[in-house]
């Protein structure tokens, strides 16, 4: 089965006054049909820009400088702006981080949903409205008919995120890119939204890229996980494997910085130092300044190691006995 999405050697750079900022640097991955992939990393690691690059929504001075983004076999980077517009929202949808900001405050929910239907399908307003209402019902918004005519400020944060999800679902896309959609929400609402998205993705057979810095969320949701650091994917593999037996020191560092992963009473072990400025990344492995395992060889660029269940970029990976 061909994958829904195949990203090959994608690089997205920002041409700033202070130099070239390599937000995404030679990133490759695939997303299979119906697959849920978690893209994990710290702020500034390039995970959101990866998502925007796929949709062709990188704002200047940013630009995709090289690579291929094959969506159902077609390269999105060669498409005209009009062709891309026809794909956005129709075949690939996106959900944003902050539900308070993603809906236009001065337009009613109905307007913002109907325009999405009509941007891609030639249907009457009544038909578009009916589809919008059904989508609202689908994501668990009570009395959707009345709520259609409300404005965003009349919804709570969780409800707004449900509206955004309903908009993403309007055209039953092949792929949804969710950029930290639960980060801004209360924990109880988070798990509800997570559950809903997982259910809907399964129900409609949609593939999902879930961008997050929260390993717990990704563990609960994803089939596969990709860990990004300083613009590169440093480790990728099945969720269970990566979380229980990380190969890359950065992944293990992330895991031991999560409160739930450390036995009670023991101090958390944060990763020392800070992520390097994207303007002045060290040559070789970008993580080496913060890495206890680093040696001189890390000053050269580590190649992608492909093991049975795992891909990683590291000269000194953790070794786990086959258990």
């Amino acid at each position: 089965m061909t994958p829904v999405l195949e990203v090959k050697n994608l690089s997205t750079h920002f041409m700033t006054r202070r130099g070239v900022l390599k937000a995404v640097d030679d990133v490759s991955f695939t997303v299979g049909q119906r697959e849920i992939v978690g893209l994990v990393g710290e702020s500034g690691s390039g995970k959101s820009i990866t998502g925007f690059s796929i949709l062709g929504l990188v704002d200047p001075p940013g630009r995709v400088v090289s690579g291929q983004i094959l969506f159902n076999g077609e390269d999105l980077l060669t498409k005209s702006p009009t062709a891309m517009r026809a794909i956005r929202g129709k075949r690939i949808a996106m959900i944003f981080q902050d539900p308070m900001m993603t809906l236009n405050p001065v337009l009613s929910v109905a307007t913002q949903m109907i325009e999405t239907v009509q941007a891609h399908d030639r249907v009457s307003r009544a038909e578009a409205r009916a589809r919008s209402r059904d989508a609202l019902g689908l994501v668990g918004i009570p009395s959707p008919e009345e709520r259609l005519d409300s404005y965003p400020h009349q919804f709570s944060g969780g409800m707004r995120q449900r509206v955004a999800i309903a908009i993403a679902l309007l055209h039953r896309p092949d792929l949804i890119i969710a950029d930290e959609p639960t980060t801004a929400l209360d924990v109880t609402i988070q798990s509800q939204i997570l559950f809903e998205i997982k259910r809907l993705a399964g129900e409609f057979g949609m593939a999902l890229i879930w961008i997050s810095h929260d390993l717990g969320v990704v563990a609960a949701l994803a089939d596969r996980i990709m860990v990004m650091y300083a613009g590169r994917i440093v480790e990728a593999g099945q969720v269970d494997g990566v979380l229980t037996a990380p190969r890359h020191p950065y992944t293990s560092g992330l895991l031991s910085a999560v409160p739930a992963a450390v036995p009670r009473g023991e101090p958390l072990r944060p990763i020392p130092g800070f992520a390097p400025s994207p303007l002045s990344r060290p040559s070789g492995c970008a993580f080496r300044d913060r890495c206890a395992r680093a040696t001189d060889v890390c000053a050269t660029e580590p190649m992608l190691e492909i093991a049975a269940d795992r891909e990683f970029r590291c000269f000194h990976p953790h070794l786990w006995s086959a258990a």
Partner: protein, 324 residues
């Protein structure tokens, strides 16, 4: 809404009373209208008779309360100079000013919004630079100088447009206006442009700033992610958000355009209320000045009310009455 209207109405009355008091005292302090009105060779008896007939012999507070009492009965006093009700003098002149101001405003909006959008959507481009530089001129060159230059260029050198007066007026639906005849329109063009150049610059800058502030917001990116056309994003998503500050400022500016059309009306000999005000201040014609300011204040209040109502139409987050 009803609560809002009533409260607004009571506030308005307080403002009107305060205005009347301030203007009364102000004009009284400037000088004695009798000096201006009575011929220097009049006998003391004649003089006393005129002063008494105008009520100027009474103390100021008594004059004020006579005025206030009459005003409550719809009489804002008679002009000392023209010996006619001051309010009818004002309403004779008001349409000319309204016509000039509204034309100027429409011109500023019709030209300013597209130019502002153009330069906001392509910031730092050559187009943007040209528009922004032009708007600096609109801001910084004094209005009277702009007016004189317009006359110089279009009336004196090119001879395309007349420079004084209102021209021929036409009638449409019972309204008399220069807008309805070609001659009237040619007379209207220069003063309207003169009056609107400053506002045009203001509208351009407001629109540009609005576009620059709104375009990077998440909801614009989300709209793009939904596959909405760039055209709809600009004209619906962004524009409706820009309208909010635009309406506020335009409301305030419309009031000041009406009140201070004086300079333009003087340069182009436009027979509006601005010119009437200047003449009346010169002659210390207190009833006209007071009535004029009360009318202007009322207009301000009315415009602000309209702005508030428009607000609630454009911005769903604003609910009049504040009952929530």
């Amino acid at each position: 809404m009803t609560v809002f209207v009533i409260r607004r109405f009571l506030q308005s009355i307080a403002v009107l009373i305060l205005t009347a008091v301030i203007v009364f005292i102000g004009i009284y302090a400037i000088g004695d209208p009798a000096e201006m009105l009575i011929a220097p060779d009049a006998s003391p008896a004649e003089r006393a008779q005129v002063v008494a007939s105008l009520g100027l012999d009474k103390p100021l507070w008594e004059q004020f309360f006579t005025f206030a009492w009459n005003a409550l009965h719809g009489d804002l006093g008679r002009s000392f100079v023209f010996n006619r009700p001051s309010i009818s003098l004002i309403f004779e002149r008001l349409p000319a000013t309204l016509e000039l101001t509204l034309t100027g405003l429409v011109f500023a909006l019709l030209l300013g919004i597209p130019l502002g959008l153009l330069s906001g959507l392509k910031p730092n481009s050559a187009t943007d630079e040209v528009i922004m530089t032009g708007s600096i001129f609109g801001f910084s060159l004094p209005s009277f100088w702009q007016g004189m230059m317009l006359i110089m260029i279009f009336s004196v050198w090119l001879g395309w447009l007349p420079s004084t007066g209102r021209g021929q007026m036409g009638e449409f639906l019972g309204l008399h206006s220069s807008l309805f005849t070609l001659d009237g329109l040619t007379h209207l063009i220069l003063p309207a442009i003169n009056l609107s150049l400053f506002k045009l610059s203001l509208v351009i800058r407001l629109t540009r700033t609005g576009v620059r502030e709104t375009m990077p917001l998440d909801f614009v990116k989300f709209a793009r992610a939904k596959g909405i056309s760039e055209r709809r994003i600009v004209f619906v998503h962004v524009f409706k958000n820009i309208l909010i500050p635009l309406i506020t400022v335009i409301g305030l500016e419309l009031g000041s355009m009406l009140a201070f059309a004086v300079v333009t009306e003087t340069i182009f000999a436009w027979p509006g209320i601005g010119k009437l005000l200047i003449d009346s201040i010169m002659r210390l014609d207190r009833p006209v000045v007071v009535a004029y300011l009360l009318v202007i204040v009322s207009l301000f209040i009315f415009i602000n009310f309209v702005v508030d109502v428009l607000y609630s139409l454009v911005d769903p987050r604003v609910r009049l009455g504040g009952a929530q």
